[in-house]
Chain length 407, copies 2
Amino acid sequence: MSSASFNVAEEARIYLGKISADLDRTVAFWLKNSHDDKNGGFFTCLTKDGKVYDTSKFGWLQGRQIWTYTQLYRRLERFRLPAILEAAIDGGKFLMEKLKDTKSHKVCFSANAQGEPTKIQRTLFAEVFYVMAMSGLAKVTNENIYKREALEMFKLIIHWAREDDSDLGRPKLPSTGNHQNLAVPMCILSLVHELDDLDIQESKLDMDEIRSWAVDRIKMHVQRQGTRILENVTQDGQEIDGFEGRKMVPGHAIECGWFLLKEAQKMQSHELTTLAIQTFIERPYEYGWDKNEEGFLYFVDVDDLPPTNLEWDMKLWWPHSEAMIAFLMAFNTAQNASHWERFKEVTDYAYEHFVDPDQGEWFGYLNRAGKVSSSAKGGPYKGCFHVPRALLICEEILTKIVNDHEE
Amino acid sequence: MSSASFNVAEEARIYLGKISADLDRTVAFWLKNSHDDKNGGFFTCLTKDGKVYDTSKFGWLQGRQIWTYTQLYRRLERFRLPAILEAAIDGGKFLMEKLKDTKSHKVCFSANAQGEPTKIQRTLFAEVFYVMAMSGLAKVTNENIYKREALEMFKLIIHWAREDDSDLGRPKLPSTGNHQNLAVPMCILSLVHELDDLDIQESKLDMDEIRSWAVDRIKMHVQRQGTRILENVTQDGQEIDGFEGRKMVPGHAIECGWFLLKEAQKMQSHELTTLAIQTFIERPYEYGWDKNEEGFLYFVDVDDLPPTNLEWDMKLWWPHSEAMIAFLMAFNTAQNASHWERFKEVTDYAYEHFVDPDQGEWFGYLNRAGKVSSSAKGGPYKGCFHVPRALLICEEILTKIVNDHEE
């Protein structure tokens, strides 16, 4: 255990207890409060105590919750419960039958309680979470329909991302056609990982080519002599003028960091491991962690010019849950004590500020000083996803650390 | 002067001095920093000191700055300067020739420095400010082309708002087709006022019918036994379920209040005067002013459920500049001392928190506690408009109060 020959195992046991209990509370929160037994699908606009404050259904969040349920069911013994499996299947039915347009195959961003669309985004993200949901269902049910749905939509996403996105409905403007957002190759890499353990030979997709395309595209966002991850660059990896070009989202870079680390392990690439840890995890912590008031800033301008997103200095839950995964995964890869320290720092901040020890699931939005600014547990962009995913992954890694030590 | 027989005239003189000096600084800020002499049009992404941090041109803000320049030129002797007139005309040329699409007549939301569109919104607001700009130019130049442009676009806006908005490009969804946002009738009422002193007989527009339509539509947003202004209602004035239906924007209601007060004066309607002052100005102050930390909240949920806009508790400049106009106009109408006190309270807050006494123009964005959270003076939504408009109108009313007293 070289440089990490301190009390990691003992500390890991404490964090494991904390995180497992939080995962239990969090799963209970969603099981109890979010199921719409009448119309199907999941409510995500939930107050601190789980009261529904808006009955809308959100396409991203339906897909994410289904996926989360399938992961809990597959990966942790104590969640292998018929109630969780059935809720995932029922959610899948609502998502497939109500939220996906049969003609365009677009999944709506939001719908009313009955599933009638109220907003359709001109992006591919609702569809990304559709693939995750369907792939997750394919794994827990072994039914072909889910695999077919996942693969059809995945092919469409690849088409939109790499060939022609006119069907997404955004008017073609010559001066922006050349922009690339980090979210797109990142989402595709995460879908490749999702499909990795599904038998998709029949699809004739060249997954090796797709994963290396995604990694190459992600690498284009490394700028300023390898020291900064910019959210938007040109399609050939050049910086873009103005605030969109200068935008950094530390939580996003760090999330991408653990996706890359997963890929590096799969490919057994030392070079990619180093890039993931140093450039996508350590660096964004350096420029994204608020030195004065702790917590990750949401947006940072690479030249310290004024960010235009009003919420730039707020502390959101997901950069923190993503950083917990990233630093723990980095520690588990390289056994570097500094990553363990960062994991503890971020986790301690989260447990002091975001976690609700009474009702489960985290608060989502703090002001810069760390005070809860919205008492909601869920909303149009926050559902059953980042928190349980992070707690699940951290529980797995911490369990391994504890067990390794005991052997 | 009945209940206002306190030291109003003396206080008015002090506020007049403060506000006139601020208007001078603010106009100087925009004249000095925002003109793009190379490509035409106005930069609005400006730092505290006026440095351009993004060269994009924004459709709303081009139109607003042109209009503001024409108002300054027309209404205040010391701004009747060739430089201001020429800048307005040059800006108008850029807006007409670059930002308006010749086929669809849509004005883009944003463009690059050269005027090549980068984003087109599926709303009618860029076009509203286009009409204001063209009408303003028609008044200061007497040239027919501007009047023609203003009227053609105004007719299109009326068509979109009242008959058919399919050309705006939003997909028709059965479950949202019936929603009405306060901004639409409010903008139309403000355009009616803008066109009031332009000879538009040739247009054959029935302006009396349009103004009464707009006022009726605005009244539909008065809900909860006349105590609350809701931002979104159905087309027949019913509440909408969920957070969009519960949304209140106090600054917006108050801005609408002084539009209605103007209309009431025009129509000599006592009933509309009362509605404007009590329901659109006094009430939104009561539920919108932050009792603990001062300043207007940006969004408030009518049932105190969690607002979903992350910036809900921030203090933005424009609700404060609008409230300065509204309370001063209310005072000038009814001579009620409480309105004078409110005018002073809001103005004092603004001068303690938003105003930059060194460089001119206000900061735009404070956190809940009143600390500047973005050091920019302008951006994609903040240009040369709310601040100079408010200072101009307040200067005019305060001058009248001071003069009336001296007579």
